[in-house]
């Protein structure tokens, strides 16, 4: 039980540092969404942000080396508010203060990626970063809201 009396059994996901392990993310979030009546638009934002954060940890934080661990803990500290806490043992990286690349505007630009931090900041409602003795802890908060309320 957590401090708010919420049973968190089964609400923690541990992944190996392999991209293939991300296949477990969507079904897990789907189960959480069903259990906590999370609206589809919020579920979409959760999938988007967590896929981005976890894939970055695996590809960049762990440099693609397998068999490291990433842990995600889900809590709902109050009604209609949901938090995922992502912990890794990778070198420090703070996505909250890292510079955001501008949105692409032309097919002449050479980059095809670089959207991750921008998407994370626009689709999450709260981001909090801490370094830990082992690595990084990122808390990502979502408020249940219809898509029309999503931040521009």
């Amino acid at each position: 039980m957590t401090g708010n009396g919420m049973d968190t059994t089964g609400e923690r996901l541990e992944l190996r540092s392999r991209i293939s392990d991300l296949a477990r993310l969507f079904p897990w979030i789907e189960r959480l969404a069903s259990r906590h009546a999370i609206p589809a638009s919020t579920q979409f934002a959760m999938n988007l942000c967590l896929e981005e954060v976890l894939s970055n940890i695996i590809r960049h934080g762990y440099s693609g080396k397998p068999d490291h661990c990433v842990a995600v803990r889900f809590t709902s500290p109050r009604k209609d508010y949901f938090v995922f806490v992502v912990e890794d043992e990778a070198p420090p990286f703070n996505p909250v203060t890292s510079p955001e690349l501008p949105a692409v505007s032309s097919l002449k630009e050479t980059r095809v990626g670089g959207h991750g931090i921008r998407l994370l900041r626009r689709f999450a409602d709260a981001l909090e970063y801490q370094t830990t003795p082992a690595g990084n802890r990122l808390s990502i908060g979502f408020t249940a809201a219809p898509p029309a309320n999503a931040k521009e």
Binding site: R18, I19, S20, D21, L22, A23, F26, S41, F44, N47, L48, E51, E52, S55, P66, P102, A103, V104, S105, S106, L107, V112, G113, H115, G116, R118, L119, R122, F123, P147, A150
Partner: protein, 143 residues
């Protein structure tokens, strides 16, 4: 060649490649992200994607999209049945759009849902690949 003892494999879930090799390859394939094409009048190719264009979905369609980008000059990517779009999915759209443009052609997007469209707009991809919600408009944009 060495084989892992069965006792070590029991209870393990194979990686997406279907092996127990730990290669981590993403081979969810056609079942992950069905992709089909339809040739329309005027040399226009409609590419219909279905499902989640997430990191696995993007991996599943990458090769087909590259082939299309290397051979077609007027392409509609139909996202009406796409329920999710992540940043790797964006790459799977931007890279072929750039290749098609490089060959003097054009790619447009048809019918994304509200959330998928928000991803396209947030990333600025809509400025590179025009979005249309009616097939007729998408076709007109390519003529």
């Amino acid at each position: 060649m060495r084989f892992a003892p069965l006792s070590r494999l029991r209870g393990r879930v194979p990686d997406l490649c279907g092996h127990f090799c730990g290669c981590g390859e993403l081979k969810r394939g056609a079942e992950a992200m069905p992709i089909s094409t339809e040739e329309l009048e005027g040399g226009i190719t409609r590419v219909i994607l279905e499902g989640r264009l997430d990191i696995e979905g993007a991996a599943a369609v990458d090769m087909r999209m590259n082939v299309i980008a290397g051979t077609k000059k007027a392409v509609i990517v139909d996202l009406q049945k796409v329920s999710f779009l992540g940043s790797m999915g964006l790459r799977a759209l931007v890279a072929p759009a750039r290749a098609i443009k490089g060959r003097g052609g054009k790619m447009v997007i048809l019918g994304p849902n509200e959330l998928v469209e928000k991803v396209l707009k947030t990333s600025g991809v809509d400025a590179m690949i025009p979005i249309h919600h009616e097939l007729q408009n998408a076709i007109a944009a390519l003529q």
